[in-house]
Each structure stands twice: as structure tokens, then as C-alpha cells.
């Protein structure tokens, strides 16, 4: 890991020296942006990054302009990055149009980080816990990652504390629980277990730069009157993106902005409470079902596109 960080640092430093902080190194031309597929006809030293920070990889043929292709993210704080090649090289791309509104990039963590088995829920009660994009895989003591109720979470985040840069592994157990508000930043669920995230008590939970797959039932579960603000999320394959606990009438306020929600068996937001509100903006939807299910006081959307 140290070696990788060192190497990454050298690449960043070297790249910085050769650029004037644009989205491509000096002498390079952009051929596509993050999320697009592009191609080079011969072995080419392709740069990936933004704002003067790049990683390089020699590539041939078609590739995705993505963190996974290059193995690391040279500047996680920038959502828009470009793939570029030396002037005079032969290449092209941009076959997938970028999102019409906002930039949806999900998590910058890859799933190839080192793995830690979690046998006891990790409690984050203040400050910031930074997982360094390692994989946190639930041990059998927390649950099997199936749909059975009563599994324990991998993380429990409380009192406005921050959890960031975490990959929840193949056994997701009951994912992440929040109490009294929390901030979750750059989280990747490889295979959602019972739920990805459950709000257990009142407060504001802020979720950004996340990505998760295969929630059989719900991705977000809300069990208490609370506020949930989600931005830059990718939710692939789930029953619903969000469910307020069935039969409850307390008020929740939910916003999703700049999300890619695809392949929902049922829909996006569901509640039984006529006092709750939800809003979906600047997002991309694909086979997402109904956006608003149930008796919302208000459930609105704007700036969304289907693909």
C-alpha cells in the first residue's frame, strides 16, 4: 500500500510539473470524459485526471474513461475528469453522452482494495473515520448479507460524525446505520445485504459520492423522523431506492440530486406517511419504475432524464 501511494504520488508530482493545471497535460488533447468510452488505435500513453493531476496508463483499443481503468483516482475531489492523449496520436471517443445535468460519478473507491473482516460493528461516534477505500466485509457474526431481518451493521455512525472512503464488501450484512445524523462520503456497496443504509434515529444524514449494487429490497431504509440529503449517487438494481418504514406516519424529508438510478424492481421513493416529502433532481433514470410510491405529502422531480 505504501508503495502504491508513493508511486501514485510520484505520478501526481510528475504530472503536475508538466501541466498548467488544466484537465490535460501540456501537449495532450482530450479524447473523452469520465463515464465515456473511447479508443486509441495503437499503444498510447493515456492521461486521466483534471486540474493538473493525472495518472497515466499505456492502452490500446477501446477503454472506459474511468478510475477502474487507470487503477487510481488522481484527484477524487474533482468529479469531471478527462482522458487525453499526446497530440498527434490517433484516438477518439465520447460514445456515451455525458449526463444531461450534473455529473454522476458515484464513488471513486475501487473494489480492489485490501479487505478487513468486520466481526463487531464499527462505531463512529465523533470526528471522521476514513477507511482509505479498503473493503470492509461483514463476518458471519454480523449476518449473512441476505434479506433476513435483524442483521447487524458493518458501521454505526452517530451524532453527525463522518464516515468516508469505505467499500462495504460482498457480505454487506445490514450495511450502515446512522443515529442522530451523520455524513457519509464516498461509500461503495459491492453487494447490498439487508439494506445499504438505515436511519435509526432523528437527525440529518448527508450522503454523497456513493455507489451500490444489488439491494434485493431497499437501498435506503428510514426508521425515524429525519432528513436525508443524497447527492452524486449510483444505485444499480434494487427493489426501491428508498423506503420509509412500513406503516409509520412520522415525517421524513428526502432529496436526491445528481443520481443514476437504474433497474428498480418497484420504484424510487416509497412511504406510507402523508406528511413526508421527497424530491429527485438532475438525475438519470433507467428502468427505475415509479418515482413516487405511496401517500407522500409532496414528491417532486425536475431536471431528470431517462436513458
Amino acid at each position: 500500500m505504501i508503495q502504491r501511494i508513493f508511486l501514485g504520488g510520484l505520478l501526481i508530482a510528475a504530472a503536475s510539473a508538466a501541466s498548467a493545471a488544466t484537465n490535460r497535460p501540456d501537449g495532450y488533447v482530450t479524447i473523452c470524459r469520465i463515464g465515456e468510452s473511447c479508443s486509441v488505435s495503437t499503444s498510447t500513453n493515456v492521461a486521466f485526471g483534471a486540474s493538473g493531476q493525472f495518472v497515466f496508463k499505456v492502452l490500446t483499443g477501446s477503454f472506459n474513461c474511468a478510475v477502474a481503468t487507470f487503477g487510481s483516482d488522481p484527484i477524487p475531489s474533482k468529479s469531471v475528469k478527462e482522458c487525453s492523449i499526446p497530440e498527434g496520436s490517433s484516438g477518439g471517443g465520447g460514445s456515451t453522452p455525458p449526463p444531461a445535468t450534473g455529473s454522476v460519478t458515484g464513488s471513486s473507491c475501487s473494489t480492489s482494495g485490501s479487505q478487513t473482516t468486520v466481526n463487531e460493528t464499527i462505531r463512529v461516534t465523533s470526528g471522521t473515520y476514513d477507511g482509505g477505500c479498503r473493503r470492509f466485509n461483514a463476518g458471519s457474526g454480523l449476518g449473512d448479507g441476505g434479506q433476513s431481518e435483524g442483521q447487524d451493521p458493518v458501521f454505526r455512525v452517530e451524532n453527525g460524525a463522518t464516515l468516508r472512503n469505505v467499500v462495504i464488501g460482498a457480505n454487506g450484512a445490514d450495511g450502515i446505520h446512522t443515529y442522530n445524523g451523520a455524513v457519509l462520503d464516498n461509500i461503495y456497496w459491492m453487494n447490498v445485504g439487508e439494506d445499504a443504509l438505515t436511519i435509526k434515529s432523528s437527525g440529518t444524514t448527508t450522503v454523497r459520492n456513493i455507489e451500490g449494487y444489488d439491494a434485493e429490497d431497499k437501498f435506503f431504509q428510514v426508521n425515524a423522523a429525519s432528513t436525508l440529503n443524497v447527492s452524486n449517487c449510483i444505485i444499480h438494481r434494487a427493489g426501491k431506492a428508498l423506503r420509509q418504514n412500513g406503516g409509520t406516519t412520522f415525517k421524513i424529508a428526502v432529496t436526491f440530486d445528481a443520481c443514476d438510478i437504474n433497474t428498480m424492481r418497484e420504484g424510487v421513493f416509497r412511504t406510507d406517511s402523508s406528511s413526508s416529502t421527497a424530491r429527485l433532481t438532475n438525475s438519470r433514470l433507467h428502468n427505475a419504475g415509479s418515482v413516487c410510491i405511496g401517500s407522500w405529502a409532496s414528491c417532486t422531480q425536475s431536471g431528470n432524464t431517462s436513458y
Binding site: A13, S51, Q53, T125, T128
Partner: protein, 270 residues
Amino acid sequence: MNKPTTLLAVAAFVVTALTMFRDSVVDGVDDPPGPANLSQPMASKPLAAPALEGPVNDEVGKRAQTDSGLAAHVALKYRFLLSELRLDAPTSEKLTKYLLERESITQAAEKESSNGDEDVGDLLRRHQLRLTEIDAGVQALLQAADQANYTALKDSDAEQRRLYDYLGGIRNVAPLDERQERAILEAKLRQKQRYQGVVRDSGLDRDVLSSAEREYAHANLARGLKQYLDDFLVETAPVLTHDQYVLLRSYETTEFTLELDRLQRKINAK
């Protein structure tokens, strides 16, 4: 000062402030950003806070008597200095007043900065004369080793905030003891001192940079920040457990990346 008596008043002040922090941790929902082992007493029994008459600055003296948050902040920020001092009572009272005034000015500048466009550095420069007087006053009360300690701690707010953010995050997983906390903070402040030379050399204090100067600043700061992080981690590794170190490295790598991004935007705006 020559009389080697324990600084009871300062100790009492520290204990009172830390007790207040500890109580708020127990009673309240919101944990304050404090060290993992705040509940450990720094003296055998809590004592009354020192009287603050005889003002270095009347307004600050009044505020310090009523603003327990400021007193707690001073106690926490300077705890690695205050816990080691051996001063007589009048000297310690004078020191306390200086520290309260200094932090009052700094906090006021931070508050103003958060309300407007001016940054903390610019605001503090406007108060520089008084801050210089305070620093001289404090140094005159301290012995040589403590003077260096004070110099390092007085501008360490950002570093301490980051330290406590990291400590809070891992307190249930791999808590640090006070010796480790101090080692991390001191390593950070040592490396920061070297890095500040890189910042000065990068022209960030100028309003306009040419394209070549911007390019130089980008490369110089990226290199300097990487060196800062690497040297800091090398220095702290021996005093931490494996888990503590891995979590520190993850935390600081993210923070340094964010800082580089902030600097890049600042350079690009010139």
C-alpha cells in the same frame, strides 16, 4: 518563576475546562472535538479557575470570565504546554490572560472570515501589532524550552482540528493515549514549519501569477505537500499501532488531497 512551585492555578484552569468538556461528552448528544482520553484528570482534584482581575485587556478579561467556551478552547489548545509549566501564581494568571486574549482575537478573526470574503490570515494581519505584543509578553514568562513549545502551538488550530477529527473517528476502534496524541501533533507542526517555506516560495501571496509562475506553483506545492505528508507519516509510524497508523494514513491522505485541490483553485484564480 524561579521558584519551582507547581502551577496550581493553571492546572486548575485546565482541569476545569477539561472537566467541562468531559461532562458535555457524557451529557450531550454532540461530542465536542476533543482528545480520546479527556476523562483522565490532569490533577488530583478539581480547583477553582484563577481570578482574572488586573486586566491585560479589560474586554477580554470580562469575556474570559463569562465565556467558558473560550477558556476550554485555551485549555485544550495549549494543554501540552500548560501541563508542563512550573510557574508561580501571579505569573500563571498573567499567562492565562495573555492566552485568552490571543485566542479571543483569533476566534474573532475566524468568525469574521466565515461571514465574508476576507481570509483569516488577512484579518489576523490587521491585529498583528497586538498579537506581537501578546507573544512577546508570553515569551517573557516562559523558559526557553517552553517558548519553543508555545511558538509551535499558537498557530496550530488547523492542525489540532484535524487531529481531533481523526481521534474522534477512531476512538472506538483504536484510541490513542496522550503520549501518542502529542507525538502526532508535534510531528505535524514540525513538518508544517518546513512546508511553509514551500508555500512562501510558490508566490501564493501575490495577486497575479503568469502562466509559467502558475505552473511552477502547481508543481512546487504538489511536491511540497507530498513531502510534508510522507515525512509526517514516517515520523508518526513508530509511535502508533498498525491500525492507528493505517487509519491515520487514510485520513491524512484524503486531507492532503483536499488541501492540494484547494491550493490548485487558489493558484488558478491568480
